[in-house]
Amino acid sequence: MGRNQESLQRYALAVISHLLLVLAWYFFVVLGNVPKFVLPSPYATVQALLVSNYRWVENTLVTGAEIFGGYILAVVVGIGIALLFSWFRRLEMFVMPLLVSLNMIPKVALGPLIIVWFRYGVGPNMMMAFAICFFPIVLTTARGLREVEPDLLDLVRSLKGSRWQIFTKIQLPGALPYIFSGMKVAAILAVAGAIVGEFLGSDRGLGYLMLQVQVTLDTAAMFMAVILITVLGAILYGIVLGLERLLVVRDARIQ
């Protein structure tokens, strides 16, 4: 009962702080007489949704596809590569330093090249999201797979357990908290990657729309686009968080 009340209180406080921010924003604009092209009111921002020319639904879906596509690809490839590393130590010693060096490249700088190689569009922007969020997943997964108690390995070996048993019963479940910590970082990066991709070259998506309305100084629409991008990111993050709750025991989670 007490616990329930406490969590209810936490949610209530979180909602209130968000509402207060919107309220402060509203009063700042109204009382300060701020021009709409500098800072639109919350009301004006929502009204921007009514401009059908901006094709909000389509643009949001396009950006969402880029974010989710790039992210899922990064999770699959990232975890896959980390697994290969843990199975073949030599491969890790050979490839990992290369990955570290490549990761030093600011991914944003690759944008113009990606456009040269692949034209622009949803696919190349997905690649941008992938490139920017793939490395943290490899890194944390590889680390998690390495973190096995030597005594626990002895326990399994004393029973003549196989490598596969060590992997499925100890290594992989033990690595899950690390994998999720990487996936959470990557979720935020993926959004940034997709938007940067759209800034550099695209004909659809919320990032593209922002550049269009910037020309006409429709600041309200820019605000709305930022909010929608944030919502997309929050949805992705929420899904990852939910999966973590489902798969990782509370005590093992990495905060």
């Binding site: 108690e149 005594d151 326990l155 070996r157 004393s158 029973l159 019963k169 479940p173 990782v248 509370r250």
Partner: protein, 254 residues
């Protein structure tokens, strides 16, 4: 005269690191009968953990003889060893009962039977009612009890314990000593118990093997003629004191 369950003769182990030889274990000769609880006691660096791993078949050795099992007590190295370490090493993501079942899963034992056996074992180690808890919900002593149940699940003939109570506070440790004697008598297992606690070694052991460091070798091996069951008060008896002093002398602390 029947054959001993464990027979060690002149066992010697050398570690080689960067071309330098390091003598980890030497001159180790002792026998353990089936159903005995033998304490291996000595300072750090005396090779007691190494010796335990040799018994577990996890380490090779350079010289000597290691034989486990006898015609009356055949020994299968893949399923007759249970291990308990200083840390409980329970899997955080498994409930207590599923942690206990880990060795049964690895050995591919029938699960329904193992599960009911796991419940019995949790009752034996005093964890009745904690089957469905997660390790983080248990105290250190309770986690170690679960680890002992895990070591017993596949009904091994030999239990190897490496300072299992070393990380517990003094009072819990005394309590766990009593519990271990009770479990040992009920489960009728052969136990090799590594410790650096001299009173613990005497209190638990039917026999004590004393190892010294620098160079690592076996210094003594004697039987502890104290009756069972042993209450804590036995530590104040003259005989108990003699055994303890004997070890203190060997370790150069008297």
């Amino acid at each position: 005269m029947s054959e001993p369950f464990i027979h060690l003769a002149g066992v010697k182990k050398i570690y080689r690191t960067r071309g330098v030889d390091f003598l980890a274990v030497s001159e180790v000769t002792f026998d353990v009968d089936a159903g005995e609880l033998v304490s291996l006691v000595g300072p750090s660096g005396c090779g007691k953990t190494t010796l335990l791993k040799i018994l577990a078949g996890l380490h090779s050795y350079e010289a000597g003889e290691v034989r486990i099992g006898s015609p009356t007590q055949p020994f299968d190295p893949s399923r007759d060893i249970g291990m308990v370490f200083q840390q409980p090493l329970l899997l955080k993501w498994r409930r207590v009962i599923d942690n206990v079942l880990l060795p049964a899963e690895i050995l591919g034992l029938p699960m329904a039977e193992s599960r009911s056996r796991a419940r019995d074992l949790l009752q034996l180690v005093g964890l009745k009612g904690a089957e469905d808890k997660f390790p983080y919900e248990l105290s250190g002593g309770m986690q170690q009890r679960a680890a002992i149940a895990r070591a017993l699940i596949h009904d091994p003939k030999l239990i190897l314990m490496d300072e299992p109570f070393g990380a517990l506070d003094a009072l819990t440790r005394e309590k766990m000593n009593l519990e271990l004697l009770r479990i040992w008598q009920e489960a009728r297992k052969t136990i090799v118990f590594v410790t650096h606690g001299i009173t613990e070694a005497v209190f638990l052991g039917t026999g004590v093997v004393v190892l010294t460091a620098g160079p690592a070798r076996m210094a003594d091996n004697f039987r502890v003629e104290l009756p069972h069951p042993r209450p804590l008060e036995i530590k104040t008896t003259e005989k108990f004191g003699e055994y303890s002093r004997r070890i203190y002398r060997l370790l150069g602390m008297e």
